[in-house]
């Protein structure tokens, strides 16, 4: 049994802590903020109005839900349609769980696209199933794969072959492709193309024309293969899920301390030996697991003297550029969107990304440190399924705004730009929901810089580092250190900056727990 400290009580940290405690270790979690949950925490942004950073969860890995008993602790909501894509011409395209029904809706735009949609869904599903198998794996060691790993890789190879010629070539081709090219091979409707491609660029520093956005699309398919993406909600918001995970962890004897910021990781004889808190308290431990992102962990919490300069250079070069801002709106009524007759259709996510060029132009602005004129919006109105998040009769609108730069051009500061961003978002929303402006009681803008400060996300990068081709799988966070270990013995990573990363899926946390338990056993 080892005494283990987990830094950060985000969903991955809690998952790792839970499994390590189950494996018999004595686990203490230290959370800087007064609440657990990290990006999943639900917080009050205006009197009586609450919203989380994340619009939807995962979906969470099934085995984690089972092991942590989450299904009994929270209520998962699966809205249908999952997504409604809005068109500037006043029409809307709902993505239902039912492929046939979605195809029918697509038929109003293009019969060709409607015909191809089922095959596209099926293809994405098959490739997603293959890739999700990779998600469960600890990325193999490149230098000296152990026998067990070779066996695992052989199994992967066999499953790759089982995909068949067409699909295996698709997998190889689609990964390095631009999402825009990928969708144009299937569909002709700009709205549909963009809705699908938007999954390949959300949270990344890539536009739909960037090569490699195809890979992000595929990685998302591994989490949930539906082209519209996943829209699993939790009653009470993702914060309720965070509390349930904390409860499960406590039930496994994890000690959770909030308002306990770690300022440094102690290293003795090349081994992690504990942490120092911001108030100077030292806590000794046999192992330290960081749920913080790789840059914050190695550049912020570890003394550079304890790391090799080459490793530090690589971590500095790990790209972690934020592209997402968050706008929370407190509404005094439920908004009405053009083209969406039934308010029940708004329970999932609402997408403002009406075309490939629209997305790309928004990305162009980001490249030059400018605010997009017409931003890409991923919206949810969580109060439709869970009225408890706002005062009676009122609503919360939670908007992910992309592409928003962390560093603004021309020395412009974010304190000046917040209002401008809010105005841009409102102007965009007005086009799709005329009159929405008059329903707004309060608006809160969280810039990428705010996200960095509030949630300790380096660069405001919501995925703890960009999911670009050179920063996934055996390269996440960097080649040679993708196995949740670090150059410092008994210092581990368990956050989204490790394979497979992604949204609120708990996959990194679960994989990390397995590796850490192994490493501690063999030590």
């Amino acid at each position: 049994m080892s005494a283990i400290i987990v830094i950060g009580a985000g969903h991955n940290g809690m998952t790792t802590a839970f499994y390590l405690a189950k494996a018999g270790h004595k686990v203490t979690m230290l959370e800087r903020r007064p609440v657990v949950g990290g990006c999943a925490a639900t917080e009050e942004f205006a009197l009586g109005f609450r919203a989380p950073l994340a619009n939807a969860v995962g979906p969470l890995r099934r085995s984690v839900i089972r092991d942590m008993g989450l299904a009994t602790r929270v209520q998962f909501i699966h809205p249908d349609p999952r997504l409604v894509a809005l068109s500037p011409d006043g029409r809307a395209l709902p993505f239902s769980a039912d492929i046939g029904r979605t195809a029918e809706a697509i038929g109003a735009f293009s019969q060709n696209d409607a015909r191809r949609y089922p095959e596209f869904c099926e293809t994405l599903r098959r490739l997603g199933v293959f890739l999700s198998g990779l998600f469960d794996l600890t990325p193999p060691s490149i230098d000296a794969p152990a026998a067990g790993e070779m066996w695992e890789m052989l199994k992967v190879g066999k499953r790759f072959r089982a995909l068949g010629r067409t699909d295996s070539f698709r997998l190889l081709r689609w990964g390095p492709m631009a999402a825009a090219d990928l969708v144009s091979e299937w569909f002709e409707t700009d709205l549909l193309q963009a809705a699908v491609a938007s999954r390949g660029v959300f949270g990344t520093a890539m536009g739909p024309w960037s090569a490699g956005s195809g890979a992000v699309l595929l990685l998302n398919a591994a989490i949930d293969a539906a082209p519209g993406g996943s829209s699993v909600m939790v009653k009470g918001g993702p914060g309720a899920l965070a509390l349930a995970m904390a409860e499960a962890a406590r039930g496994a004897d994890v000690q959770i301390r909030t308002s306990a910021a770690v300022s440094r990781i102690l290293v003795g004889d090349g081994k992690a030996a504990g942490v120092v808190l911001a108030d100077g308290t030292e806590i000794a431990a046999d192992a330290v697991v960081s749920n913080a992102d790789p840059k914050r962990t190695f550049l912020g919490l570890v003394d550079p003297m304890d790391l090799d300069p080459g490793f530090l250079t690589k971590i500095r070069n790990y790209r972690s550029r934020g592209t997402v801002a968050k706008v929370h709106l407190a509404l005094n009524t439920v908004p009405v969107f053009r083209g969406v007759a039934d308010p029940a259709d708004l329970h999932g996510r609402i997408l403002v990304a009406p075309g490939i060029d629209y997305l790309e132009r928004s990305f162009d602005a980001w490249k030059y440190g400018e605010l997009p004129q017409e931003p890409f919006l991923d919206i949810s109105i969580p109060t439709l399924s869970d009225p408890s998040l706002a005062p009676a009769g009122k609503h919360v609108m939670s908007v992910h705004v992309q592409f928003v730069p962390y560093t603004l051009a021309g020395d412009r500061s974010w304190s000046d730009a917040r209002q401008a961003l809010a105005a841009t978002v409102l102007a965009t929303l007005e086009k799709y929901s005329p009159g929405i402006g008059s329903a707004i009681e309060t608006a809160q803008v969280l810039s990428p810089v705010d996200l960095e400060q509030n949630y300790s996300l380096t660069g405001g990068q919501i995925y703890h580092g960009e999911p670009s081709l050179d920063q996934v799988f055996t390269m996440r966070p960097i080649l040679g250190w993708a196995r949740y270990r670090s150059p410092i013995e008994n210092l581990f990573l368990c956050g989204c900056g490790t394979h497979p990363g992604g949204g609120i899926t708990a996959a990194s946390g679960q994989n990390a727990a397995r590796e850490i338990a192994l490493a501690l056993k063999s030590a």
């Binding site: 230098d143 010629r165 081709l469």
Partner: protein, 527 residues
């Protein structure tokens, strides 16, 4: 009527290399070229009296040394003259001038940034290592990752082993090169904007990608693999223009017994019982052969010459999907005198190398942004060479020719009208851009030839004007070039082969596709 062992379609450098190797192996070979001149895009033409333009392709570096050796090209007249340095004038009046003299370049870069001067050494070493790693892949027939064919598996294993044998740092670099954008990659090494912009330029040539687009770092390497007299990363000019390379190869092919006919356009490939048995010429003549080897791109080969009725539908889809998207144009100038650059006045040695209009990363990226939405860049990236300074034979005494490679010029314009309507305006844009750095340029132009992507398509038979017969993007390289499952120079039509730039390892005056394909044809013939 004569019967041939092999008919090679297209007398470009790859077609000629292919023919030369096949002829040397004892095959009776016939090369058919549509134009009146040989060389395809590697061609020299006297468009304006007394001035020899390297009309399309204008510098050489990638031509495989084994081809030069095996075909004994110097004896057939090939002479490569080194092209020294890259000069980048800047709007501020400053410049960046990198030359082959390492110490000099270091001092020059240090003038911009001391840190970058240090990093430049490290970078050079790393890239040479990467080039070494990639080189054997160029001469390899790509394996089919979905088949269990032992040779393919051996190749995959060989690649895996080689990768494993790299040092940790080199593995890291290699992975980054394969996936990152040129600018992201260079950002890790350098801070000087103009240096990064000029270096990243080689990552975008011939692609419809920007310097910030993932996947462009790989092309950086593609341009680093060049080798002249054993020295990595040197560019050169061929005496007599790039056409002289093609003529030397043609000479070698003829000496080995190949027959070459110009002004002989192929209109159809004859397919009988699923196998190619010859070609039909534009004039209606038939010529039969056991094997047809096509050096033209897949669009022309399969959709025009073979016909979809002879092909599996999945393959036809793949061929239609293959991306060309030409993104560059060419402006060739006959000059009365030398251009005079504000950033370094006079006729110094800086004019003898490449002159690059790439003053900053944002300049490059904005040039790309315009192209994405269907406009040619109003301030394009231009790579200029004045070959007459190195090889006076290409212009009358005291006069000069200047080759300007221009990007971006998207094949599909969305600004109204066709390229025929925009040709001269495009040419003016190029001249105006150059004039910002060399104001005398407008006064010294004797003749101007503007090639739009449409002209490149029409003249050289390059679909959509793509100079590499298809984009060099990751999903179109190695075992995916030109179509998944058909990267081994064979095609679904028996005895029809591909030997052009649309096959592995791709474009540039390299010759590797032609040679690799010849080896494949010879090997298959032995069975």
């Amino acid at each position: 009527m004569n019967k041939y062992d092999v008919i090679v379609i297209g007398g470009g450098h790859n077609g000629l290399v292919n023919a030369a190797y096949l002829a040397k192996a004892g095959r009776k070979v016939l090369v058919l070229e549509r134009r009146h001149v040989l060389g395809g895009a590697a061609v020299t033409e006297e468009i304006y009296p007394g001035f020899q333009y390297s009309v399309a392709s204008y510098v050489v570096s990638l031509l495989r040394p084994e081809i030069i050796r095996e075909l004994d090209l110097p004896r057939h007249g090939l002479e490569i003259l080194p092209l020294d340095g890259t000069f980048t004038p800047m709007p501020s009046g400053d410049h960046l001038w990198r030359v082959n003299d390492h110490a000099k370049t270091r001092r020059e870069i240090a003038r911009h940034s001391k840190l970058d001067a240090e990093a430049y050494d490290e970078y050079g070493k790393a890239m040479v290592e990467m080039g070494r790693f990639v080189k054997p892949i160029l001469t390899m027939t790509p394996p089919d990752p979905t088949s269990l064919e032992p040779r393919g598996l051996m190749n995959l294993l060989f690649l895996g082993r080689r990768f494993q044998a790299l040092s940790d740092q080199d593995k890291y670099n290699q992975v980054q090169l394969m996936t990152m954008s040129a600018v992201d990659f260079l950002d890790q090494w350098f801070e000087t904007d103009v240096l990064k912009a000029t270096m990243s330029a080689s990552g975008i040539i011939g692609t419809f990608l920007g310097v910030r687009s993932p996947g462009t770092a790989y092309v950086l390497l593609h341009h680093y693999m060049g080798e002249i007299d054993g020295a990595f990363r040197s560019w050169g000019l061929s005496r007599g223009g790039t056409g002289a390379i093609s003529l030397a190869i043609a000479d070698a092919a003829r000496e080995a017994g190949a027959e070459i006919r110009t002004e002989t356009a192929v209109s159809k490939i004859i397919v009988k019982d699923g196998a190619a048995s010859g070609v039909v010429l534009a004039n209606g003549d038939y010529i039969t052969a056991d094997v047809v080897s096509s050096s033209v791109d897949p669009n022309l080969t399969f959709l025009k010459m073979v016909g979809t009725e002879h092909l599996p539908s999945g393959f036809v889809d793949d061929v239609k999907r293959y991306k060309y998207r030409g993104s560059s144009g060419k402006v060739n100038l006959a000059l009365d005198a030398l251009p005079n650059f504000t950033a370094m006045p006079g006729a110094g040695p800086h004019l003898r190398g490449a002159i690059s209009i790439s003053p900053g990363v944002e300049y490059m990226e904005r040039a790309y942004d315009e192209a994405k939405y269907g406009r040619y860049s109003r301030r394009p990236y231009i790579d200029m060479v004045i070959p007459s300074l190195t090889d006076p034979s290409v212009a009358p005494p005291g006069k000069h020719v200047m080759s300007c490679f221009v990007q971006y010029a998207p094949y599909n314009l969305k600004e109204g009208g066709t390229w025929d309507d925009h040709r001269e305006a495009f040419g003016d844009t190029v001249i105006n851009t150059i004039a910002e750095y060399a104001p005398n340029i407008k006064d010294i132009i004797l003749h101007r030839q503007v090639l739009t992507p449409l002209d490149i398509e029409r003249t050289f038979g390059l679909t959509e004007g793509n100079i590499f017969q298809g984009e060099l993007t990751l999903e179109q390289l190695f075992f995916l070039r030109p179509a998944p499952g058909w990267a081994q120079y064979r095609t679904p039509v028996k005895s029809l082969y591909m030997c052009g730039s649309a096959t592995h390892p791709g474009g540039g005056i390299m010759g590797a596709p032609g040679r690799n394909a010849a080896q494949k044809i010879i090997k298959d013939g032995r069975r």
